[in-house]
């Protein structure tokens, strides 16, 4: 048996039409994860506010959302959005969807990734809020700030700095999870790598390119966020538990 009976052909990464496909795949991965991340942050904030609310039913709804979305695999949620969700719509809406949204897989991917990530983001928001010492609230109230002002000027700026590291991790998880949208046919970078293999038998090269994409972008994000973290840090701030 001869080891490595495989001829590498790296030109598959740039020769037409595969080069353009890979670039397209990288862009799809990036805007899909950014869009999903935007939904996750906004919706996660709503869920977080629900789960710290003083009303019992609202709090229950918030934590039920988090539990349901965290305790089912992302792939199941993705399939639900792609295969099952359209069936829940009324018939005319379904017909419209199938006729006018050729990119439905992409939007299902964005929705699934956004809602799934929002449950994790909500937990991080909550942890950030809870990490702020009670004394901060008391001091703010004692100086005469209203609850809104307390949040606006004291708590949120503080919590924002605490959640930078966990948010970086969550964003990267969201970014990596975007690869799963290939199962419903979104042509992001992982799917493109796999797809090119079916024409060229050079999956090893394309998979390497896909891996490097993920590693470079992750590395870049980590670097950027640690710069931002240094930039905005408050001298002497130490986050303690309650």
């Amino acid at each position: 048996m001869d080891l490595l009976s495989y001829t590498f052909d790296w030109t598959v990464l740039w020769r037409a039409p595969y080069g353009a496909m890979l670039i397209q795949g990288i862009f799809t991965t990036i805007h899909l994860s950014l869009l999903a991340w935007a939904i996750a942050v906004l919706w996660g904030m709503v869920i977080c506010i629900c789960s710290v609310s003083s009303s019992r039913p609202v709090r229950f709804a918030g934590s039920a959302y988090v539990q349901i979305f965290r305790n089912t695999p992302f792939l199941v949620q993705l399939f639900f959005w792609y295969f099952a969700a359209p069936l829940l719509l009324p018939k005319p809406a379904q017909a419209w969807l199938y006729d006018h949204v050729p990119q439905y897989a992409y939007w299902a991917g964005v929705a699934a990734l956004g809602t799934y990530t929002s449950s994790r983001v909500a937990e991080q928001f909550r942890a950030g809020l809870l990490a702020i010492p009670r004394d901060q609230y008391r001091a703010a109230y004692a100086t005469g700030l209203t609850p809104f002002q307390t949040y606006r000027y004291v708590i949120v700026p503080y919590a924002f700095r605490i959640i930078i590291p966990p948010f970086t991790t969550e964003f990267l998880t969201c970014f990596k999870n975007s690869a799963l949208t290939m199962t419903i046919g979104v042509m992001e970078i992982t799917h493109t790598a796999y797809y090119i293999d079916s024409f060229t038998w050079h999956g090893l090269e394309t998979t390497t390119a896909a891996s490097l994409t993920y590693l470079c972008i992750s590395g870049g994000v980590v670097l950027l966020m640690s710069l931002i973290e240094k930039r905005v840090s408050i001298p002497g701030m130490i986050a303690r538990g309650r």
Partner: protein, 218 residues
């Protein structure tokens, strides 16, 4: 809603659930074992242990699991000349991938044990491995049990990714049933419910353990 579709295909789907559990158990055990070695290497002062382990952990944590599965799928035939069967391919990629995550949990757990313990162990004449085996790991593993259980739940969820290489685990079978019966809403809600039940049980266990530990320390 037509729930009979679930009962009609229950046996078929249940078979997939058993496979899912097999995958999860083997991956958790293998990942944990490899993770312990990686964590020890990452804490080592020897550069030839520290750098490869650190590189390994960063490499796998920077990639999506699905890509690791593909890597194996493409790489193994190139090196060995023949394809790996799906179950082995899935298990090997899960172990390789999850070990990186376990390693970071274990490293944090080990670092939570004071260095005084290590020094005392060395002063008592224990070797590195004796110290790890009899002094540090028993305490550290206890501290990190909640985090390990949480990670085990994550792995249980991740086994659904074996879907992509055609392994007929639970989600794949639900998908096959859906292809035949075209009852997506019922079937995917059912799949979600089954995963939810097992994962919530894991989450509750993790919280219980955490409370127990806090009580013990207090």
């Amino acid at each position: 809603m037509d729930l009979s579709v679930i009962f009609r295909n229950f046996d078929f789907m249940f078979g997939g659930l058993i496979l899912t559990f097999q995958l999860a158990v083997i991956s958790i055990a293998g990942g944990l074992l490899l993770g312990i070695f990686l964590a020890l290497a990452r804490l080592s002062a020897r550069p030839w242990l520290y750098y490869p382990a650190t590189l390994y952990i960063h490499f796998f944590r920077g990639l999506p699991l699905i890509l690791v599965i593909f890597w194996l799928y493409f790489l193994v035939p190139v090196v060995t000349g023949k394809a790996m069967d799906e179950f082995t391919a899935a298990v090997v990629s899960f172990i390789a991938f999850e070990a990186a995550y376990f390693a970071e949990i274990i490293r944090a757990g080990i670092q939570s044990i004071s260095t005084g313990q290590t020094m005392a162990a060395y002063a008592g004449g224990l070797t590195f491995f004796q110290c790890a085996r009899h002094v540090i790991l028993p305490q550290a593993l206890r501290n990190m049990t909640p985090a390990l259980v949480t990670q085990a739940v994550v792995i249980f969820q991740d086994t659904s990714l074996a879907y992509v290489i055609g392994l007929r685990e639970f989600l794949r079978r639900v998908n096959l049933v859906d292809a035949r019966e075209a009852r997506s809403v019922e079937l995917y809600l059912f799949a979600g419910l089954i995963y939810f039940l097992f994962c919530s049980a894991g989450a509750v266990l993790s919280r219980r353990l955490e409370n127990c530990l806090q009580r013990d320390w207090a």
